[in-house]
């Protein structure tokens, strides 16, 4: 039994599951055409909800990555105070539940901001983006720190010898090399943040889970409720599973 042969052979199982589930749903819809019509009617509504999940996850990840790279570099800064502040931030927010952080941003931030005498609304979904960007930044900081530490120290000396400042060496020599090592855990983090977007439904953001609740309440048919939630599960699965497969492939390539 070789380690590489087993997972590739077994990876057929989820595919089989997906095919079986789709087949079962298709059969179910064929038996009751009114159910299929209802689903078709509500599908655009659900899709708009899912688009919100993807929007939140992409923005939260972009914000979190930018902040996390800076924080990760700060964790290794030569100044002790900078180091301590970054480490404390990472420790607290890596250990905090995503839901708690979404609540924090939702309830602490005002619902509108006064800018140049104008009231600019501060929508809930933007607060959810910030709420998820905080843990994303803490995790990215750890990933960055780990990757930075994996680069042999003589490289820093060599960069110094070539006349690079510490920040320049970090930006042009060390960070680009970190990318390869940091990519798989970063993609794992993206999948985790993407699944975290479902939590935004609890603070009233109109995303997929929220849309599903709306749909099942509006139609109020048992079979439709079952079908709607199965659809939600599969929407997330179809989006996150390819990401996780790709991550595994990259990890295996890196391990070789």
């Amino acid at each position: 039994m070789t380690a590489s042969a087993l997972p590739s052979r077994l990876s057929a199982a989820p595919l089989l599951l997906a095919v079986t589930a789709c087949g079962a749903v298709a059969l179910w819809l064929a038996l009751d055409p009114s159910l299929g019509r209802l689903l078709l009617e509500w599908l655009p509504y659900l899709a708009r909800g899912f688009a919100m999940n993807i929007l939140i996850s992409v923005l939260a990840m972009a914000l979190g990555t930018l902040a996390g790279i800076v924080l990760g570099a700060m964790e290794l800064a030569p100044v002790r105070l900078v180091r301590a502040a970054a480490i404390a931030y990472v420790q607290v927010f890596r250990n905090a539940p995503h839901l708690v952080l979404i609540f924090a941003t939702t309830y602490i931030f005002p619902f509108e901001i006064v800018a140049f005498g104008h009231y600019v609304p501060f929508p809930d979904w933007v607060k959810a983006v910030i709420g998820l960007a905080i843990p994303a930044s803490a995790h990215t900081a750890e990933i960055t720190r780990g990757a930075l530490q994996s680069i042999p120290t003589p490289q820093w000396d060599a960069a110094k010898g070539l006349g690079f400042s510490r920040i320049e060496a970090l930006r042009f020599i060390i960070l680009p090399q970190c990318l390869r090592r940091a990519l798989p855990p970063w993609m794992n983090l993206y999948a985790s943040i993407c699944m975290g977007t479902a939590l935004a439904s609890l603070v009233g953001v109109h995303e997929l889970l929220h849309a599903a609740t709306d749909a099942s309440t509006a139609v109020s048919r048992t079979d439709f409720t079952v079908l709607t939630y199965v659809t939600v599960l599969f929407a997330f699965f179809l989006f996150c599973y390819p990401v996780s497969r790709l991550t595994q492939r990259l990890e295996r390539r890196l391990a070789r």
């Binding site: 039994m1 380690a3 087993l6 077994l10 990876s11 057929a12 199982a13 989820p14 089989l16 599951l17 420790q91 607290v92 250990n95 905090a96 539940p97 995503h98 839901l99 708690v100 609540f103 924090a104 309830y107 602490i108 999948a191 699944m195 975290g196 977007t197 479902a198 939590l199 439904s201 609890l202 889970l209 609740t213 099942s216 048992t222 409720t225 079952v226 939630y229 199965v230 939600v232 599960l233 997330f236 699965f237 996150c240 599973y241 996780s244």
Partner: protein, 246 residues
């Protein structure tokens, strides 16, 4: 005790933090109950997730397609869908179907609390299983063959040879999963289980002291997770076999 609480409220008030709710026995009780519920949830789900992880890992590495296939499908489905969606699915769909089958919600023995414990432990079990599977596959084939040659059955090899070694390699990942498990208990809020997040929200909607309770929440989870990480590191040191791993 009362004096100490009053003293603390006054002290917090001086630095601009509103902890007035501590003076209300009802709210104080609810808040402490919330902390207790979170701790009980962690104490319940943690061993359950480990047990589920071992069973799933055994199924994944059994080499029998009828056992490994469904286990693999379950692991992938669980790992790639949000825990909150799984919880809502079980509470709103599975629980409803059970109620219907039993002829009414009053006959249904399962409540939100049951589903929360089940979903969180089985979700984290899938992550444990992946970590353990990696560890089991890393056990040298010669070691397994030697054990088989000594007359150990497949299950005995798993129990006395593969799992003990796999546990050691998988421990860092397992501790990571357990930190995640502690954080996942907060989704109990969605099904009105009175854990600490739910209790805090009930208080701050009345008192408008979000920042104060948020500080306590962050400290509370940091402390639990610090304890989990410390215990994990301790177990790792205790179990370390000289010359194995690293």
């Amino acid at each position: 005790m009362q004096d100490a609480i009053r003293g603390f409220i006054a002290l917090a008030g001086q630095v601009g933090l509103n902890f007035d709710f501590l003076a209300s026995p009802f709210e104080l009780r609810m808040w402490l109950d919330g902390m207790g519920t979170t701790l009980v949830l962690v104490a319940l789900t943690l061993p359950l997730s480990l047990a589920g992880g071992v069973v799933l890992a055994a199924a994944l590495t059994s080499g029998r397609p009828w056992l490994a296939g469904p286990a693999r499908a379950y692991v992938e489905l669980t790992r790639n869908t949000p825990t909150l969606v799984q919880l809502m699915f079980t509470v709103l769909v599975v629980n409803m179907l059970i109620s219907q089958a039993l002829g009414g919600a009053q006959n249904n023995p399962f409540g939100a609390y049951f589903w929360l414990v089940a979903v969180v432990s089985l979700h984290v079990a899938a992550f444990h299983a992946e970590a353990l599977r990696g560890g089991i596959e890393a056990v040298p084939a010669a070691t397994v063959e030697a054990a088989r040659g000594l007359g150990f059955s497949r299950l005995e090899v798993l129990r006395v040879v593969e799992l003990p070694l796999a546990l050691r390699t998988a421990l860092p990942a397992i501790v990571n999963n357990l930190v995640n498990l502690v954080k996942l208990t907060t989704i109990g809020y969605a099904v009105a289980v009175n854990e600490i997040t739910y209790a805090s929200l009930m208080i701050w909607t009345q008192r408008d002291n979000v920042v104060e309770l948020m500080i306590v929440l962050l400290l509370f989870f940091s402390l639990i997770n610090l304890a989990v990480a410390r215990i994990g590191a301790f177990v790792e040191r205790r179990l370390a076999v000289p010359g194995f791993g690293q």
